[in-house]
Symmetry: D3
Subunit: 68 residues, 6 copies
Amino acid sequence: MKISARNQFHGKIVGIEKGATTAHVRIDIGGTIVTASITNNSVEELKLAVGGSAYAVVKASDVMVAVD
Amino acid sequence: MKISARNQFHGKIVGIEKGATTAHVRIDIGGTIVTASITNNSVEELKLAVGGSAYAVVKASDVMVAVD
Amino acid sequence: MKISARNQFHGKIVGIEKGATTAHVRIDIGGTIVTASITNNSVEELKLAVGGSAYAVVKASDVMVAVD
Amino acid sequence: MKISARNQFHGKIVGIEKGATTAHVRIDIGGTIVTASITNNSVEELKLAVGGSAYAVVKASDVMVAVD
Amino acid sequence: MKISARNQFHGKIVGIEKGATTAHVRIDIGGTIVTASITNNSVEELKLAVGGSAYAVVKASDVMVAVD
Amino acid sequence: MKISARNQFHGKIVGIEKGATTAHVRIDIGGTIVTASITNNSVEELKLAVGGSAYAVVKASDVMVAVD
């Protein structure tokens, strides 16, 4: 499946913290850590595990820009 | 100002494409290009320009995870 | 690619309206029309066209619930 | 109240899973199951219950498009 | 219709700027100006007009917190 | 840091409810209560506390408009 989201970054899962219904997954993208907040169900269905390969996917309309 | 968004990545602006009301800004984060869809007004107020330094900022709840 | 988004609905593209930078794509999911606002670039890269098959994809945290 | 969100789909609640602060509500829209991640407080205030009638509401800018 | 979004603020429309497909609507909520980016179609269907009464509606998962 | 988000409202924190991984923070903006759903980690890193000063920050593309 190819998706319209402009931002799709490949990396390695370095952390999974499960809550009651929501999990926080951390992916290392070439040294940058991206944090995703997804459902526990998604973690299970995609069989996400620390050390595994994964993509962080973000729609362009969800990215903000900041300056110092 | 410090913001709660888990994902704040520093880079350099490599492209700005303005539409009628919405602009697409591309930021190079260590070789990865992040695309942000923001208002033209924001581009002007933050004085964003190609070659300038900027951060891409994304809330964790807006990040999805994908696997091959 | 398999993605964590809980909502992935298969249907047929029934409308594409391109703006300056942003396009509105309408997908018929079993009689229900879903409207997506995505970049013109995505429309081109995915070669979206009226009559074509496509999925509408939505993260669970972006769905609200309403009652009468 | 009428809202600007382009996507408003009527259906029946088929599942409510409450977490510590966040609940996952599943709505059957003509055979398609839509999952919404909302606050526990919203579930209570709207008196959502399995079997009840409800709408899934999604802003167009939160819908992505994918192709096989 | 009652909606699960935690944030629903009543005010008066003080500006509407239409682009090619996307409009920016500004609502004065007791002296605070809230800017919404919605489709031109929504502006027309809801018959939004400067001076009219309206609500700004935001899902809690789309609100960030910042400190100085 | 200055951010592109069109909506940045200053107020006072009047409530923090922590869940397993997600917290709900309520900010009083001149009498209007804004609710933000953010990670527990953000609450800790920003040292958010009831009574403290804070901003609610929302991207324009995450604001909807409703009418009666």
